[in-house]
């Protein structure tokens, strides 16, 4: 059954390491795609996901993730950079590989294995203008009805991963503007993790980590006492981490 390759190796005993060489025509028939689960956050709503209207049968009219096929000359872990830029005009966003989905029947046009990444952006940073108008939209994570492909499953998996990470790394800052108040930060955690936390305990904890810089600025135009603004300091967090300390909530 196994055939030998003509290129780069004369190995013909094929039950060897890692790759059973069954011939190009058999093995090199997969497409690899990359799907980006782009999470955003806008106050007082819940987490949101950016979706794109699908125009591919049999999923016409359904919404699905932004994604693309991996290019032959492109590293898997760099593909999201291109996709986020090309399809959503996003640069400098946080993203992380989550998992690869490869059910045989997950894609109607052939064997497509898809690696999912999630990324975190501020909703306001996305230019939803121009051509993409009605084709791209933010959805509340709990108003997702029927999505294209296995994108429902992919989003659920990414959401679970995100929640995990939020608890143990200071990722939440990627969802907020650079300057934010502590109540804003707290609400983000409450909304994203679907919990409620005590205001005083939350402030004490987050302050004790010493990863925030207290600014001499305050909110304005809020119909109540304005909150003091803070800024996340990556460098202080790194120092914390080097000391082996955990983040935790």
């Amino acid at each position: 059954m196994p055939l030998s390759y003509t290129s780069k190796t004369e190995n013909s005993q094929a039950e060897n390491i890692n790759i059973q060489l069954s011939g190009v025509e058999d093995s090199y028939r997969f497409a690899v795609s990359v799907d980006c689960v782009i999470f955003g956050y806008s106050e007082k709503q819940s987490l949101q996901v950016l979706l794109l209207a699908c125009n591919m049968a049999p999923y016409d009219g359904l919404w699905g993730l932004l994604g693309d096929l991996l290019h032959p000359d492109e590293n898997l872990d760099e593909a999201p950079l291109r996709i986020l830029r090309e399809r959503a005009g996003l640069t400098d966003v946080y993203y992380e590989q989550v998992q690869t989905f490869g059910r045989v029947d997950r894609h109607p046009i052939g064997r497509v294995v898809s690696t999912a990444f999630y990324s975190l952006v501020q909703i306001s940073s996305i230019p939803l203008s121009s051509s993409s108008k009605n084709r791209v939209r933010w959805f509340n994570i709990d108003e997702l009805h029927q999505l294209a492909f296995d994108h429902q499953e992919i989003i659920e998996t990414c959401l679970a991963r995100l929640r995990r990470r939020l608890r143990e790394s200071p990722l939440g800052f990627n969802l907020l503007p650079q300057k934010f108040s502590l109540p804003q930060l707290q609400t983000l955690y409450e909304v994203a993790l679907d919990i409620t936390v005590d205001k005083r305990n939350f402030r004490r904890k987050i302050k004790s980590l010493e990863i925030l810089e207290e600014l001499d600025e305050y909110q304005s135009d809020v119909g109540h006492r304005p909150g003091r603004l803070y800024r996340f300091r990556q460098d202080r967090y790194e120092k914390l981490r080097r000391r082996g300390l955990k983040f935790e909530l």
Copy 2:
């Protein structure tokens, strides 16, 4: 550039959802492989990994992971079942998908994207007999020198994931025999996580979780007082988990 498919869709506008249809000859050129990082544990040594001698240029003579190409009719997440069975004679092992490695140049014979899984087995359960004699061997996780492909990186990633999981789920039991003593369990954690823990505190904690069944059996043929044996009870752990309680160490 984009071509339309003849099957299942008439879509010719190709800048659409998820897949840029650039034609079969462009897109369906990837091979997908599955690499299994098989962790084992034998008392008083550290964690071990099962490796296979590579006989593919340019990696002849190096050791590498057990793996294989994903079959066209095989679900990605089920491939490890086959690979573990075919290549190591293993059935009923715990495994988990970790990450997908897809650097352009990671494989010398072409574009191969590889999804890594780790799995946990008792070393004694592997029949290293027969034909595979000198081709397959256990290695201490810190005696890995130069490995084939990017397998060093894959193992490191899987090891990090395993350690994470060990701390927060009762996975360690998969590395031990069904009946074990508490000191055995403790040593596993100490060796695998490279920490030391206090005997009394460890016992108190693990017992408080109530996921172990205390047996009326003891070790034998040990040159000292024999330890009482316990058995992990999955059902009790599930109950614990349903109450939202965490495992933690």
